[in-house]
Amino acid sequence: MTNGMKWILLIAELLTVGSALIVAINPNILYSAVFLLFSFLGIAVMYLFAGADFLAGVQVVVYVGGVTILILFAIMLTQWLYRLKLKDIGSKFVVPGVVLALGLVPFLHRGLTQLGKMVQAAPPEKMAEFAASPKTAMIGKALLTNYVLPFEAVTILLLGALVGAVWLARPKA
């Protein structure tokens, strides 16, 4: 991987983290939703660099094209409560939230550096080869062999979610 590519990945990671930060702390819920979109895009680029090309596509189609639109609709339907100020940080959990978040960071950092060392000590032989290979066919084969049952289960779950969500959102008869 050339240095230019690594720069792109670095920018994508910074975009992801920076947007996520705005999602968490911006008092305006609409801005949070917009920056969540950018965070999703950054994650898609990260997937791409980890050799998950099909997943990057799924990420964009499902999250950017689907979930973001749904969230924006929900915000726009309920916004008049907030009169566009939408200041909604200030629940009683702020202090525990900050404490928990700050407490998690060293814990996670320690865990991940150890994991990283373990993984980096023994990198898989075919890593570069695996990352460069197209994944659509591999995922298709996996969905037809090892993952048939989960796939069908998820399909049925989605059907259930459709029925339930539509029932919940239905306007009064």
Binding site: G66, A74, L158
Partner: protein, 134 residues
Amino acid sequence: METGYISAFWFIVVAAITVPLMLGVGALLRPKSIPTRRGTQAYECGEDPIGSAWVKFNIRFYVVAIIFIIFDVEVAAVLPVATQFKEAVLSGSAGFVFAEIFLFVALLVLGLIYCWVRGDLEWVKGVTQNAPRK
């Protein structure tokens, strides 16, 4: 990583730069604007705007988006399976792949039928076409 994505990256960058570029050229060329009260008013057919611009809207939009996201996700999940179908047909073992695709279509049809029967696909509920006026 595939080199095609380098092109995609540059396309996105060039397209994104185009917007401020064109607006910037305009900012250099055009005469200075003097905003007036009428000019900066929200356009409502020339009348003074009434109430907030952020109106409440029909919840139908939302129901449609929910149906969409479930269908979208299912299509995204079936694409990799679909790419395996041709190979399976040519090697004479298409039965299993076909069963999976059939199940996918059947479940989507089931969901669609549910929404249809319960009237979620009607935009205006409770109004039948050509209903006599009373």
